[in-house]
């Protein structure tokens, strides 16, 4: 057991921080709008080889990279490209890769995606997509959203289905933890500097306790996600991490916007760059209830009655 990053892990994160500094955030953001796909950053990350299984990047390290990228609010399918796609497919795939809960619904990055992964009837499918044929959907919550145009549908080996479900849950959890990092940092800046009644609003206990409660959920999700990635996404650990992350996400969006007041609802403040994708992720997973039912299935239908850890 060791919760500290070792030297190679620190080097990996320093490396991705360098890529992010050059391509994301602040005035270096090249995006025309907040809801578009940041292809320049995505290409830079891909060219630098940040994919699980490549350059000796372990799944845990890939999850840490996902968190690091997500916390900048970068508008790319980060978990799909760095963690889920490489671990499920084990071969190169066309980017952007969209991850789908079901056919026919609007899909995050569907407007630009060239491939897709979907789980249907216990089999995973790799879809080849035609971005030119997609039907864009106006969507405040998720970037580059569209209904897909599918040109090819490959049913993957039987083993892919469980691998996809489990790594997808870890990927969503990692992305959510990173988004929560970004959302919290943005809000804490505001709470420390904005004064009302002659004092920073972050000094009020009513505000502090809400943020502290959120911190419990957030940090719990972070370590459960790291643990699940390190363990190789066994079903119970993956579902637990995802449920913990979605619980934190649900709590965070409401609380962080509440304590940020009307300012938090403006484009300029930018909290929505983190909170809106958190809502989209929740929807994409089928909701917290689905995650909880997966936890229940993994915990209690495969174990003897009354079994303990």
């Amino acid at each position: 057991m060791d919760f500290e990053l070792d030297a190679p892990q620190n080097a990996i994160l320093d490396g991705i921080d360098g890529v992010l500094r050059r391509h994301a955030g602040g005035d270096k953001r090249q995006l025309p709008g907040d809801t578009d796909y940041d292809s320049a950053l995505d290409d830079a990350i891909a060219q630098a080889g940040y994919r699980a299984g490549e350059s000796e990047l372990s799944p845990l390290e890939a999850a840490l990279v996902v968190m690091r990228v997500a916390r900048t609010g970068a508008s790319i399918p980060v978990a799909a490209h760095i963690l889920v796609g490489p671990l499920v497919l084990g071969r190169p795939f066309a980017r952007p890769l969209a991850l789908l809960g079901e056919r026919g619904t609007p899909v995050r990055f569907g407007a630009v995606a060239r491939s897709g992964l979907i789980l249907e009837a216990d089999r995973a499918h790799l879809l080849t997509l035609d971005p030119a044929g997609c039907r864009p959907v106006r969507h405040a919550w998720s970037p580059a959203t569209a209904r897909l145009s599918i040109v090819d549908d490959e049913v993957l080996d039987a083993g892919c289905a469980e691998r996809f479900r489990d790594w997808w849950q870890v990927g969503i959890a990692a992305e959510a933890v990173g988004l929560l990092d970004g959302a919290l940092a943005r809000t804490l800046d505001h709470l420390r500097s904005r004064e009302q009644f002659g004092r920073p609003i972050g000094s009020f206990q009513a505000v502090q306790h809400r943020l502290a409660e959120l911190s419990v959920a957030h940090e719990g999700a972070r370590w459960l996600t790291c643990e699940a990635a390190w363990l190789g996404a066994p079903p119970l650990a993956a579902a637990t991490a995802c449920a913990a992350a979605m619980t934190a996400a649900e709590q965070a969006v409401g609380e962080l916007h509440q304590v940020s007041g009307a300012t938090g609802l403006t484009n300029e403040y930018g909290l929505h760059r983190f909170t809106f994708p958190l809502v989209a992720l929740r929807a994409e997973t089928g909701g917290l209830g689905v995650q909880h039912r997966r936890v229940a299935a993994a915990r209690w239908s495969r174990m003897p009655e009354g079994a303990m850890r």
Partner: protein, 382 residues
Amino acid sequence: MEFAWSEEDRSFRRELREFLAATLPPGWVEREADPSESEHVAFSRQYAKRLAERGWLTPHWPREYGGQEATPWRMTVLAEELWAHGEPRGPQYMNVNWIGPTIMAHGSDEQKRYHLPRIAGGDVIWCQGFSEPNAGSDLTALSTKAVRDGDVYVVNGQKIWTSYANEAEFCFLLVRTGVSGDPREGITILLTPMGLPGIEVRDIGAVVGEHAFHEVFFSDVRVPVDCRLGDEGRGWDLVRTALSRERVGSRRYTRTGATVDRTASWARDHDRFDDSSVQERLAEAWVACEVARVLSYKVVDEVARGETRGASASLARVAATRADQAAGNLCVDLMGVEGLAAGGSADVQYRRLALVAGIAAGATEVQLDLIARGGLRLPRQR
């Protein structure tokens, strides 16, 4: 960063489980006894001795005091398994975890010679004389007074909420021996035998357990000066250090997790498990236990590398409290009126555990303050 138990720790867990299965009475884990019951305490007294015989009561102590210098991770295995099995050590956690180590660090040779073998052998129960009617979360407001009179301190005052005061042979007693502008100064620790004349223990009728709380009255109690731990008036620093030894806190999330597992079995036995809303509630409580577990591990990791600051301990404590509350709510909603019958699972989990969780060993609100300031760096409240 890695999340594997060492082979030695895994093998220790197996050995411990076998021992617990072989030595705990049938139905012990499931009976969910009130830990303050005299019968439970009596069992704990003899069971602690069995653990001590195997070196499992104080394995983390230094070798010169009979320990094995076990790592914080080894202690985590021990504590997790014991909590998952109904915590048969009962009230031993205080003396084993922080009273003994504090005596080691600050006690006289005579105090070490007398107290440490008794604690290590599981022969003694201690209580903690901290809270007073007007000193709870703000402990430095304590006013129980000790006045030096030759070779004794004459103690007058009152302690409250003192768990196990009815059973304890000794009290780790905080008294005020001086008054200055700083309330942290003038506090002195007396290792007080509970049999001294002038000490009266009264039960406080409580809804959460038969002998859960006590008041302890001190009327002209003459405590020998030899019982003083450390210097007069300098007790507060010792207490802070002592309580930092409790940084990891209890591993009660394993007991809560075991309760959730048993509730899942109950749901299956009562044809409720296939109801998706039941599964969701069970999983919600289970995830809360897992959050508490992993946040507790984070603290263990910090302790193992010698870090003593930061908000991790508070995060873990709040998480453990929330897990107990989630399990309490689960049991009540699922098991209904039948489960709330005295001694039923819902009754035990909600009344004895969930209601107490955020109060015992430090109010949740204090932990949230510590997270806000220490972890999130929010400005101090004025």
